[in-house]
């Protein structure tokens, strides 16, 4: 499995999409840093130290960081999809896979090697993105915009944030092992889009008290549960959704309707099932 992991690392690093994403991510972090810096300076001047100002400051700081995390999660998801959806399918299409599989290498090891390589690379990327955003919030945001959180909260939020691309890789490998790159890519982007929109619809439904909208969100999360991981990450980081003063429940990127622990278990099961299916179906596939 290790040789396949190694070649997966090499492949990812050699691909232009990875280099471009890294450069664009750095540009995004720079932009986020500049915006945070300016906002921090402006708000420091405008807001005083009274209770109302403190609440406003806390709200704005979580909103700004929430927005950064949302876009960071979106970029991470796109990288996960684009780098993994063709990892098997494109090799089958070009027959590059033939000489690897003609070796005494079980297909399960090949697929799991790909998974470990992609998942670890993307987990590292997500970790850097998450810590980068938090670092900017803490050190550039300074006293005015720094969101106060404990190490436990950071670890918990990081766990959910990193889990999202790993789940995406599981599903991506399933699609890549049974269909073509283009088909797999389209299906995965649609699924991610459903989850993305469903997340907003659910929050909106929760805010206006419309159960049908919340149900649509729940169904979309069941169909593809990545958005609930983002919600979990913000809740873990900012507060608990059950708290009436929670800043995690407010604004465009807040989580008024918090995903349950059962949803988390479901998400983990979802990823594991996708990977298991990928191994099973790839073993039967003619390449």
């Amino acid at each position: 499995m290790w040789p396949i992991m190694k070649i997966t690392y090499r492949e990812m690093l050699s691909k232009r999409i990875f280099t471009i994403t890294i450069l664009m991510s750095l540009a995004f972090l720079l932009l986020f840093g500049v915006a945070t810096g300016y906002a921090s300076r402006e708000l420091g001047d405008i807001l005083g130290n009274d209770a109302e100002s403190l609440l406003q400051r806390s709200f704005l700081s979580t909103q700004l960081l929430g927005m950064g995390l949302y876009i960071g999660s979106f970029i991470t998801a796109l990288l996960a999809i684009l780098s993994s959806v063709g990892s098997i399918a494109s090799e089958v299409e070009s027959h590059q896979i033939d000489t690897w599989l003609a070796r005494a290498l079980p297909r399960s090891k090949y697929l799991l090697g790909k998974f470990c390589g992609l998942a670890s690379m993307l987990a590292l990327y997500a970790l850097m993105m998450f810590l980068g955003l938090l670092g900017i919030n803490q050190f550039v945001g300074g006293g005015a915009l720094a969101v106060p959180f404990s190490a436990g909260q950071v670890l918990s939020g990081l766990g959910f944030f990193v889990l999202m691309p790993i789940i995406l890789v599981c599903v991506s490998l399933l699609l890549s092992s049974i269909t073509t790159t283009v088909t797999g890519g389209i299906v995965l982007i649609i699924l991610y889009g459903i989850s993305f929109i469903g997340g907003f619809v659910e929050q909106l439904g929760s805010i206006v008290g419309e159960a049908s909208l919340v149900n649509i969100g729940i169904i979309s999360s069941l169909l593809f549960p990545t958005d609930s991981l983002f919600r979990k990450a913000t809740i873990a980081l900012f507060d608990t959704a059950d708290d009436p003063l929670s800043f995690a429940s407010q604004g465009l990127f807040g989580s008024t309707s918090a995903p349950s622990d059962a949803m988390l278990v479901y998400t983990l099961f979802y990823g594991a099932a996708a990977l298991w299916l990928a191994v099973r179906l790839f073993a039967r596939r003619d390449v």
Partner: protein, 320 residues
């Protein structure tokens, strides 16, 4: 007991009941160079890919190096150069070989000399640090050949190994195959370039429309038609009139003022003494008798046409 590296029993790989290969039962002896002949689309590559586990058989069984082809173990000492050789072009030649060497289980210390050796054998020494995307097609085929040889395989599948090579490259590959044969390796050679195979193969199998028509030792198969080339004196033509029934055909190949050369087809092996007896009794001046060996192309066409003829008869009978 014969030692076979490949044995198959009714091995089939079909797509919706069509194409591919059907009911292939063959044995490939250890140490042989087995030429698998067939037209484009006859099912040669399908058979090889099924043997290597890339395709799953729809029927039948097969054993490779003593292991069923479904097991990973069957591929442990096997090398493969695919017909559609495509390698990650973002790797350098040496990186590709290192990854393959690792997959073959070669230790870090063993890899270097082995890689150096295979690079020299395929004529790529000095080019290994270049990216594969910069390689010509011929060089890509050579690096593929190097990959196939890395694990010191007992059995090597070469699927159209010279398709991208120039005449010098083709000669080098033929020499390499002969060298492998001398080392006791078994080479399974897929090709439709009959003249190339003729010089290196000692066993052949002919596949036509997915079905194995015949297989066996090339020496035996090349005697499909017992033929002799007779060189007679110019006045001996009369001796060839009304020959016994064991002479099935005679054709004048060339003639000049002094000599005539005839190609005579007999009904079976061992008739040459009888033929000579008849000719000499009739007073023919026999200058030379040479037993004619069929070329691989002739053998191939003979069997394919025979198979086509049988199929035509069967088709006709089914409609009557």
């Amino acid at each position: 007991m014969a030692d076979y590296v490949i044995e198959t029993w009714n091995l089939s790989k079909q797509y919706d009941g069509k194409a591919g290969c059907k009911n292939i039962s063959l044995q490939v002896p250890r140490g042989s160079v087995f030429g698998f002949l067939g037209q484009n689309g006859a099912g040669k590559s399908t058979f090889v890919r099924t043997m290597l586990g890339l395709l799953h058989p729809t029927n039948g069984q097969a054993v490779m190096l003593g292991q069923p082809i479904e097991s990973v173990e069957s591929r442990r000492k096997v090398g493969y150069l695919p017909e559609l050789f495509r390698y990650p072009d973002w790797l350098t030649g040496i990186q590709l070989l290192e990854h393959h060497a690792e997959l073959c289980g070669l230790s870090r210390s063993a890899r270097k000399p082995v890689i150096r050796d295979v690079l020299a054998r395929v004529g790529l020494s000095g080019r290994e640090k270049e990216r594969i995307r910069g390689y010509s097609k011929g060089m890509q085929q050579r690096i593929g050949l190097a990959c196939a040889l890395l694990s010191d395989p007992e059995l090597i599948f070469l699927d159209e190994p010279t398709s991208a090579l120039d005449p010098i490259g083709r000669k080098e590959v033929r020499e390499l195959i002969a060298e492998l044969r001398d080392q006791g390796k078994t080479v399974f050679l897929n090709s439709h370039l009959l003249s190339e195979m003729e010089s290196v193969c000692n066993h052949v199998g002919i596949i036509h429309r997915g079905e194995l028509v015949v297989h066996g030792e090339w020496q035996k198969l090349s005697a499909v038609l017992p033929q002799v080339e007779l060189t007679l004196g110019a006045g001996s033509r009369g001796a060839l009139e009304q020959l016994p029934a064991f002479v099935t055909q005679k054709n004048l190949v060339k003639s000049d003022a002094e000599l005539e050369q005839w190609l005579v087809t007999l009904d079976q092996e061992g008739r040459v003494p009888q033929l000579l007896e008849v000719l000499l009794a009739r007073g023919a001046a026999v200058h030379e008798v040479v037993r004619k060996r069929q070329s691989l192309e002739e053998v191939f066409l003979y069997w394919v046409q025979k198979k086509e003829g049988e199929a035509h008869v069967a088709h006709h009978e089914n409609h009557v």
